[in-house]
Symmetry: C2
Subunit: 353 residues, 2 copies
């Protein structure tokens, strides 16, 4: 990698586009001065935003395009209309051409997954992409995947998710051999779907040097920090993440409503606001913003569409870390060294014999 981390941004992605993406990039640049940016999108909307951020302007190049992927376009439609022309495509293509180390978009998830797959292709030995997010735990963070890039998973795909997730965790958390758990409805070995038990048997039998398989983790184990990486198929991962995010918001909303109902409580809140700030810092969904699209020949990060500049800066930070700490090399090491093992994984019964 060159000395600078080169970040390609879809400046049109998300609910509002440039007015969040550009200030977000500026915040990220202040945190990571060793970045430079390629900004893809409508010059007329990007330029005025850039005028507000001199440092970013100096570290960025704008590549104009009129075409933007709509938030409600179907993936097939987005590909037809936006291939080779849209800001989303061009950002991804910059990674493919070697002009950027990572592409980041807050746009339409389905379109992003489809375009990234189409443009970058899958890594050898990996069939399907996965979306992985950073989840706050009581003691720090963990990586959870898949969050819905695809749904359903056989044992082999779960094992691939475990390997990719641990590469991401080691880039993010700087752990050499992350603890990996499979999400299940109980921790006993007899629990859950056949494919999960089989994946557990395979991971135990393979005993990979890149990850430490610790067994099954239940839904409440994620936030407890039971593992550094929690693996599940995309449907369940998506539901779990949204249920948890919804609950965190709900708790805060109930508390806020109750505080506003009483003068005494409002005074109490003022005195305790440092504690509430700590809560926000630890549980702020904006801090976990930035899911990594794994399994591709290149790094792509998806930001929430509805986030603000602070949230978008977090997503840029995730992209920066994945590029700086060699996510792809880490994944390739696992799949090259263990490629044979991962590709021709024996059936569970053989694996545990």
């Amino acid at each position: 990698m060159p000395q600078k981390v080169r970040i390609a941004l879809d400046a049109m992605g998300g609910d509002v586009g440039a007015s969040v993406v550009i200030p977000g990039a500026a915040v990220a640049l202040a945190r990571h001065p060793d970045c430079e940016f390629l900004l893809f999108g409508d010059q007329a909307r990007i330029a005025p935003e850039l005028e507000q951020h001199a440092a970013l302007k100096a570290a960025a190049r704008v590549i104009h395009t009129d075409v933007a992927v709509g938030n409600h376009e179907k993936p097939s439609q987005a590909l037809r209309r936006g291939r080779k022309t849209s800001s989303m495509w061009l950002a991804i293509e910059a990674v493919k051409k070697g002009e950027a180390d990572v592409a980041i978009s807050a746009g339409n998830t389905g379109a992003l997954v489809a375009m990234a797959r189409f443009c970058l292709h899958m890594l050898e030995g990996i069939d399907r992409p996965a979306l992985a997010a950073i989840w706050p735990t009581l003691h720090g963070e963990c990586v959870v995947l898949d969050l819905g890039a695809t749904i359903g998973a056989d044992a082999r795909h779960l094992v691939a998710l475990a390997a990719m997730g641990s590469a991401m965790a080691s880039a993010r958390l700087h752990i050499a051999r992350p603890k990996v758990g499979l999400l299940n409805i109980g921790t006993e070995q007899m629990k859950g779907h056949e494919e999960i038990r089989e994946a557990g048997d395979m991971l135990r039998a393979m005993n990979l040097p890149q990850l430490d398989y610790i067994g099954f983790v239940e839904g409440d184990g994620i936030g407890k920090g039971a593992a550094d990486v929690v693996v599940t198929e995309g449907f369940c991962g998506n539901v779990a993440l949204k249920a948890a995010e919804g609950t965190a918001r709900q708790v805060v909303e109930v508390l806020r409503g109750a505080i506003q109902n009483s003068l005494m409580a409002r005074i109490g809140y003022l005195l305790a606001r440092g504690a509430f700030q700590t809560l926000r810092n630890k549980m702020d969904p904006r801090k976990g913003n930035g899911s990594v699209l794994l399994g591709l020949n290149g790094i792509v990060v998806k930001s929430h569409g509805g986030t603000d500049a602070e949230g978008f800066a977090s997503a840029v930070g995730v992209g920066y870390e994945m590029a700086r700490y060699d996510l792809l090399t880490k994944i390739n090491q696992t799949f090259n060294r263990e490629g044979g093992a991962l590709a021709s994984v024996p059936a569970a019964q053989e694996a545990v014999s």
Copy 2:
């Protein structure tokens, strides 16, 4: 139903048994004086607890048994060892014999599901039991099922879950036609597994008088109160519930830790403690304790094993409501009136034509 609601309790169930079950029953009796209790278990452990609760003692009869199902016994093992003899079995059997209107246990979930199924049998037209819980929302409560009585579901089973869940919601929430949503990873009709889309088509086509099908609900829609009943298969429901419970605890724990770190915040907490009490009242997992085992010829309620007397009282309250407001009649009405329709539901394509 006779004037009193007759409740059979497995006094040995849960992490500690009688010392939670008996005080919990006493709290529930104070709330619902029109109850009477059959207490199954070890007389030597029940009697001293009962001595502390005169009103309960007057409203209860103890039926002694030495046998209790262990928390870690496999269902098959529990059935072999505890059928006809264990406190869990005898409580369920009291419902079968018509001596009680509802059975409640804080014991081993797998054993409870297996024994209830074996003893009471499934209702006609329903293949598999389901566990349904009450989930706090921003505006009140909703019913979520299945939480893991079984895993996986085809479209027909999802439709049966919708019908049973809405009967439970109408008994709990006193709504004539509860709003029912299917849990999915997006609200667009093209999203998710085939069987979920098919179940949605079927529910729309059937247009049952007992429920108002509103479409797909995402993970964060549950706590927002998007529907009165949220339907999913057992694996995903179990993971979502535990992820949400874990997150609620995590938020409170982070906040508590932050408050304790600062004197000012501790003073603030004292002033705002009414607001924290409101939060506890609304989000207290003990208040939602008591999952209903649906689909059987009789009402069985499962309490968390690790709950306290207050939590066990909530589970008794759920059982009371289900018996008092005729859960079984409501389910049977749906399945008798729509029995043909539910049993011979046409394929989705036909249903929506």
